[in-house]
Amino acid sequence: MLSTALRNVLAHKARLAMTVLAVCLGVAFVSGTLVFADSTAEAYRAAASKNFAGIAVTVTAKESPPRAAASRQNDQQTDQQDGVLDDALARTLATVPGVAAVRPSVDGSAVLNAADGTPLRVRSGANLAGAYVPGKDGKDSKDGNDSRYPLIEGHAPTTSDEIAVDSGTAAAGHVGIGDTITLATDGPAMTKRLTGIVTTKDTRVTAGGTLVLFDRATAQKLFASPGQYTGIDVSAAPGTDQFELARRVTAVLPADRAEATTGAAQAAQQAVYVGTLTRGYAKMPMVFAGVALFIGSFLIVNTFTMLVTRRTREIALLRAIGASRRQVVRSVLAEASLVGLAASAAGFLLGLGIASVLPDALSTDGNALPHGPLVIGPRPVMASLAVGVGVTVLAAWLPSRKAAGIAPIEALRTAQQPPTGRSRIRAVVGLALLALGTGMLISLTGAKDASEENLRSAMLGCGVLVVALIVLAPLLAVPVIRLAGRLAGRRPGRLGIAGHLAQQNALRDPRRTAATAATLLISTALVTGLAVIGNSTGQALDRQAAAGLGADYVISTGNTTTGVDQAAVQRVAGTPGVRTASAVTDSTLFIGGGVRTVSGVDPDTVNDVMRLDFVSGSVKDLGPGRIAVSSTTARENGLRTGSQVNARIGRNQDVTTYTAYTVVGVYKDNPTAHDALGARNDVQRNSFKPGSVQRILVRTDGGASSTSTEDRLRTAVGNNPLLKVQDRRQLVHEAAGTMGNLLTLMYGMLAIGVVIASLGIVNTLAMSVAERTREIGALRAIGMDRAGIRRMIRLEAVIVAAFGTLLGLAGGLVSAWAVGALANGAMEQYSLALPWGTLLLVCLVSLAIGAVAAAVPARRAAALSPLEAVAEA
């Protein structure tokens, strides 16, 4: 039977080509993603191990115990207070047996402006800064350079006015030797002269970050304290074990103030981090793979069903001459395996292509993925085979059962039997699923929040709904297409008859039509659902981003660990056109076991820059020991105006110390005001950087935002790269930026769905044309011209596509509505907003795909000779 299967595959090459393509697409995404993940992880790892190549042990300061910290609450440099990592320790370490070299380092972060005055590649964790530490005692490097940062141009920074940057930073910022650079580490901006350009292998920098190097003294002043380092790297003499060396180093350290970590441990830690990073990137391609395979499986089922139908007589003959049912099933499944094998092989190769372009496709502006050779492990190969063959064989199982059901007597029948439906079972199952799915979704409308559990039920409900639609599709095909035909009206003449025949042909085998339409149904449902939810969420975010904001501009540092310098606050207040400049200090609030964000505001000016909607109490009552909370915070902690609550602001306090606060007001949730409000002086005293300001909310005269005002504000803050000056529109835009991924996901799915659906339509129509040659010949004989035949086939494709799109739209909209009801509980501003443009686009693309996919089968049909009408069967 295997040879029969092989011969069948070869005999239906063209028929199966589409199936192979569809499976191939899914496999390509799977293998491509896996190869990409392996390659990227390897590239990261290669880079990471290079970073730690020369480091055996790193000595860092230990986190100080809380009691000690509390006593030094007002010390500016809280991290390196003890002054244990100094040159003396470095010298001590150099004497430890087995130590080859000691290299102290000062690490921190700094952001800088590009040549055009805009902040360069500002991204959390990617803007590195450090000290350029020339080698000591000739051990490090003979010419007294820092071997971690080989100089390629200019000279190393030696005074506090000089800096060096890495070549990537220089190129991205269009800066060169001798340029004056504006940069900031914290507080006010500084200007320094660029004297050197170095290279680095640090992946955080090469992957789209920046690196600024200061001379040692300046770096120590900025990131530690004079004479202090943030870490000391120790390299081992040949033959010395890292762990042994770590033990010896630990022995000479003051136990409670410094600790030693091996280079291997650091590399391993980084690898774990890299792994999480890569997995994040691999998520979206994997979703595509799943969608492609799911949709593709319908194509497989449909193709094999058609093949089995077409070979009914042949199979019946085999049964008549003694083949068992099992042999028939096995022959079909063997055929499917061969197809799956071919698809896996082709898909794997295509996947390599995908893997090589994915890094570029996934890299965004300031966020490049490392490049490296493709790593092809056994995992992608096995996965491709398993997925390709597995999906194909599984999908072919139903048709194989159908083949087994063919009675030997059918060998003797001349006419093709119309498909006999078990439509009652189908109707019952479909309706039951529909009821189940709808029930699940309706039961959720009462849900108050978008908890994990509720979301999962919503997803499941949507899935059940779509499956119900797929099951019911063959039954819906007849009434829906009839009704659509009636609505379109029966036009007389040539177009009318082509349309009428197309409609009748689409209805001839509703199951086949439904199975062909299923691909479009799924992709349309997915895209519609995502588009509606995305659009609604986006609009909600837009509304929310600007909701609580009364100010025209927001100047912010973007995090709570760096601050706006006081002088800048004064300058902003004094800028022409500024009516109110209200400084806000953001910090963390530990309350009821949770961590929230508290904003310290000036009660006198806050109403000018924030639109606060107090449910009870008033913002005027804020003061030392008196806070206001958002409705959510109030609900979570059971607070009302007048309540007393134990809470802690900031972190420079003993973890056990809670202060009693009085709640003086409850306001409606407001993203500008965060979770709680306090008086600024009160919050400032306890924030990460005591006395600092994180945001300035600016209200201008007349309120209109103009570029000149924005420019004046930028100037007022000294073009500090640390600070973002944003108007409402930019804030909204930033909030909407998170929707970008969803858009990519949506259009990716649309593309995949459309490609596979078009393959399916080509397949089905080609099969239909092949089955109807005699009929088409007769049409040609009695006078339908080639154009008419083409039109008929094309219209049939459009009808099938429209049917799938219609059901998909229905499923997608209902699902979006249901999920939206959930989101409504979580997002105050959420309301269902239909993205008409996108929905229209989806419909047009789907219909167009029908017409385009039909081109080849239509041409083939039109080329049929009228003599086919009289050809021997």
Partner: protein, 260 residues
């Protein structure tokens, strides 16, 4: 009806001839494997006459009909429908000619399974974008006795009924000539007799021209004239045939082919 202005190159031809072939030759393949299906066949089909084409299997009778009806293109020679020379027509014009001036009846009925009987009957008119002539249609439908079956689909009709639909379809557009290819080949004798009766009636009562290919002497007995083909050549002709006389001629072919 005979000349349509849309067809150029209208040739002078004998009046009263619905279709004619002159030196019609059709060969298949080339070189060693060349087979001559028709060898310089010249024949005319008179208006209002029922002609049967007969001959043993492989004699070329079907090829003759396909070429004469514009379904197949001859290798050489000319085919005219009325005054229109088919070799000058493009595929589009040929299609139009088949649609407007030729009716077909096939052995395998070739009705569209998705259309009702009535829709099948009016299909050539619908394709042409013409409105059927109500009176004519009623007459044709009642003649073939389908009045009660017009809403049925082919699958709900017997073979004889399906072929009657096909006859009605051929007649509906009042073509210049109807070609019938073994119209009784798939029917039992009773249904076959019915269909042949309709064809003869259409000639007698409606003045239709019918050309029928058959290998059944009984069917040929309904015709006004029988032409015999053998090895691609016209070999004999008989006016007012009877089944017995036709059978006698056929027997001589069998004997000849056996001795050759």
């Amino acid at each position: 009806m005979i000349t349509a202005p849309s067809f150029p190159h209208a040739l002078q031809t004998t009046p009263g001839i619905a279709a004619a072939t002159t030196d019609l030759t059709k060969t298949y393949g080339s070189g060693e494997t060349e087979v001559t299906a028709l060898d310089r066949v010249s024949i005319g089909f008179r208006e209002g006459e029922f002609t049967a084409i007969m001959g043993p299997s492989g004699c070329g009778k079907s090829t003759l009909m396909h070429c004469a009806a514009g379904l197949d293109t001859p290798s050489s020679g000319s085919v005219r429908i009325g005054t229109t020379e088919l070799s000058t027509l493009s595929d589009r014009q040929l299609t139009q000619l088949r649609r407007d001036r030729i009716g077909f009846i096939f052995q395998a009925f070739n009705l569209l399974p998705t259309l009702t009987a009535l829709e099948n009957i009016t299909l050539p008119l619908t394709i042409a974008g013409r409105r059927p002539d109500r009176q004519w249609l009623d007459r044709v439908v009642s003649m073939v006795g389908l009045s009660q079956r017009l809403a049925h689909r082919p699958a709900q009709l017997s073979g004889g009924q399906q072929q009657r639909v096909a006859v009605a379809r051929a007649l509906a557009s009042r073509p210049a000539i109807i070609f019938a290819d073994e119209p009784t080949g798939n029917l039992d004798s009773r249904a076959g007799t019915e269909v042949l009766g309709f064809l003869r009636d259409s000639v007698r009562e409606l003045g239709q021209t019918v050309v029928m290919v058959t290998h059944d002497p009984v069917a040929a007995g309904y015709a006004d004239r029988v032409v015999f083909l053998s090895d691609g050549r016209l070999v004999d002709e008989m006016a007012h045939p009877t089944p017995d006389r036709v059978l006698d001629v056929m027997k001589t072919f069998d004997a000849r082919s056996r001795t050759s």
